[in-house]
């Protein structure tokens, strides 16, 4: 299985996002680098709006991810509630 990944800046806004991603995707691996993190996952990775909202204690629009994204890899499927990265093979 190929790996997908998402890289985010490390700042106050992304801490709960990263925490939620890792909690919802137990197969994901966290790689820390100066000023950023890269989260790698075999096959696919899903980000859930609800999980982030619970940690943040406020409404969260998944498109807010655009503010902190550095890069990603994989085919994207985005709805109001979920953001998924995956490879077909």
């Amino acid at each position: 299985m190929s790996k997908v990944f998402i890289a985010l800046q490390t700042n106050d806004d992304t801490r709960p996002i990263i925490e939620a991603i890792l909690a919802d995707n137990p197969h994901a691996e966290l790689n820390e680098a100066p000023a950023m993190v890269k989260i790698d996952a075999e096959g696919s990775l899903t980000i859930h709006r609800n999980s982030i909202e619970e940690l943040l204690g406020r409404d969260f629009n998944l498109q807010e991810l655009h503010l902190h994204l550095i890069t990603l890899s994989g085919n994207i499927d985005e709805t109001d509630d979920e953001f998924t990265l995956s490879w077909a093979n």
């Binding site: 190929s2 790996k3 997908v4 990944f5 890289a7 800046q9 680098a33 100066p34 000023a35 950023m36 406020r58 409404d59 629009n61 498109q63 807010e64 655009h66 503010l67 902190h68 994204l69 550095i70 890069t71 990603l72 890899s73 994989g74 085919n75 994207i76 499927d77 985005e78 709805t79 109001d80 490879w87 077909a88 093979n89």
Partner: protein
């Protein structure tokens, strides 16, 4: 945060459908083929433009909202940087030379990307891709503006950045990135999208922005990290557009496959060659290193592009053949490029140096199969000679590759002691190349690449001297005249870092910032 309203809010998918498809129309005063004359000329067949999907489903209203927030964050940091003499916090003044290469070599490409996507968006009759191109065009002009604003804080204090736009169109090594983009922008709209959106953004830009910006953070350059990451937050969208265009073209018609594969092969190689400059920045120009070029290549090219091409296999796309060559070269290109800039350091708008003994040990550990055997002897010799007052400045102009325009510095993929020479004859004239792949690109579009503006040949034709000088005068110094034409100030912008004005000023100012003198 979104405001809660009483009416039912449109879902992401519905909103995207309304704000893209609903805004297009079929022209009636003129036939569509006349309004959009370029989107069929490359032989690409599109049957249903409605099948275009933007996976992010970003609409213009959301775009403005998030982009303005990114800008506010970025400019707050740029202000803080300027107010606190942020330039004195970088690890070592050698680092600033990477910024000089960035502002002269990369930022003008952002502007060309803006022009390219504005033009391409106009030429596509489908509304979905047109909106996506429009957003990318606006992103790209934002990138060039934020880069100029950030780096202007260095330009106040250091040499070599004062005339970056003028230099971009003239200086020998800047013809490499310039011609890369000119090549893309002078292609048809779909080739441009595959070249920049897919091959460059999806397959290769991670190698430029991610390790390099993380490197800027590691080297204490708060301003550059911030513009880098702010730009990079747009790149994720651009990469997605790049992948989408490939999928869209391949799903539309089986006849598109060979055309798309040819573009992927061509532009992957064009990009790999251009990234030689980035390889050198990572291994030689960052005093504190995050990772070697080879490590970045392994993660962001071999693993990531490997996954990507496995995914695209369902459409019949295969990994470009040039990748085999690029993998063989990954242990060599950064050293070969730095050796080139070191010896032609009198004609560069930034300073060069030989790595310290500790830095050479780092290079040995990162490149166990190549550094000690092929490059250390050369670099130690140059260090000794420089210490003895015999610093090597090569004053004879090099032979260039007709396609990538890089000096013929690359060695045979299987023999790092032999320069790779390739040549072909077209319409009675010889053309030379650094590699099989640059030769194939030329042979496929000879009428295009026979027009390459090769800096060395242009100098010998007499086209690179300031107006009014007399090249036949007895005291005429051609190389000095070329530097004047470049706007490179001899002794300030060029030559060794050791002994430079930048080095002296940085030391003195940092001393003043940390002591009461």
């Amino acid at each position: 945060m979104d405001m809660k309203t009483s009416g039912r809010k449109l879902g992401l998918k519905e909103k995207y459908a309304h704000m893209t498809r609903g805004l297009g129309w079929e022209t009636t005063y003129q036939p569509m083929d006349k309004v959009f004359p370029y989107d069929k000329m490359e032989g690409i067949k599109i049957h249903d433009w409605e099948k275009w999907e933007d996976p992010f489903r970003l609409t213009m209203d959301a775009y403005w909202k998030y982009q303005s927030e990114k800008e506010r964050k970025l400019y707050a940091i740029i202000d803080a940087f300027a107010q606190n003499n942020g330039h004195l916090n970088v690890t070592d003044a050698r680092y600033i030379n990477a910024l000089k290469l960035f502002i002269t070599g990369v930022s003008p490409l952002e502007y060309m990307a803006h022009r390219g996507f504005a033009h391409t968006g106009r030429q596509l009759r489908g509304v979905g891709p047109r909106v996506a191109c429009q957003m990318q065009a606006i992103d790209e002009i934002r990138h060039v503006q934020t880069q100029i604003h950030t780096i202007s804080n260095y330009n106040k204090f250091y040499n070599g950045m004062h005339d970056f736009r003028h230099m971009h169109d003239r200086v020998w090594y800047l013809s490499v990135p310039k011609s890369f983009f000119d090549d893309a922008i002078s292609a048809g709209p779909f080739e441009f999208m595959v070249a920049i959106g897919f091959s460059f953004e999806y397959v290769l830009t991670n190698l430029l922005f991610v390790p390099f910006m993380s490197g800027a953070a590691f080297n204490g350059d708060m301003g550059t990290v911030t513009f880098g990451f702010s730009a990079q937050s747009d790149e994720a969208r651009h990469m997605t557009l790049g992948l989408e265009v490939i999928k869209f073209l391949l799903e539309q018609d089986p006849d598109n496959l060979p055309i798309v594969q040819k573009w992927i092969d061509k532009w992957t190689w064009r990009g790999v060659r251009m990234l030689t400059l980035v390889a050198m920045m990572m291994d030689y120009m960052l005093p504190k290193r995050v990772m070697s070029w080879r490590e970045a290549w392994d993660i962001y090219f071999e693993q990531n592009a490997g996954a990507l091409f496995k995914d695209l296999a369902r459409y019949g796309i295969t990994m470009p053949k040039c990748v085999e060559t690029a993998i063989k070269e990954k242990d060599h290109i950064s050293h070969q490029a730095w050796a080139t800039f070191y010896q032609y350091g009198a004609a560069a708008a930034f300073h060069t140096w030989m790595p310290t003994p500790e830095e050479m040990d780092w290079l040995s550990s990162k490149y166990p199969d190549s550094f000690d055997r092929y490059y250390r002897p050369r670099f130690e010799y140059w260090r000794e000679q420089e210490a003895a007052g015999n610093r090597f400045y090569n004053k004879t102009l090099p032979m260039l590759c007709q396609t990538c325009q890089i000096p013929m510095l690359f060695t045979e993929p299987d023999d790092p002691t032999k320069i790779a020479y390739r040549e072909t004859t077209y319409k009675g004239e010889k053309y030379h190349f650094c590699s099989d792949h640059c030769q194939h690109i030329f042979e496929d579009e000879s009428e295009k690449y026979m027009q390459s503006w090769l800096p060395v040949h242009q100098i010998y034709q007499g086209n690179c001297f300031p107006e009014g000088v007399d090249p036949t005068a007895p005291d005429f110094d051609p190389l000095a005249a070329v530097l004047q034409w470049y706007h490179i100030q001899f002794g300030a912008d060029n030559l060794s870092f050791e002994g430079s004005e930048d080095q002296k000023n940085f030391e003195q100012w940092r001393g003043m910032a940390t002591q009461n003198v």
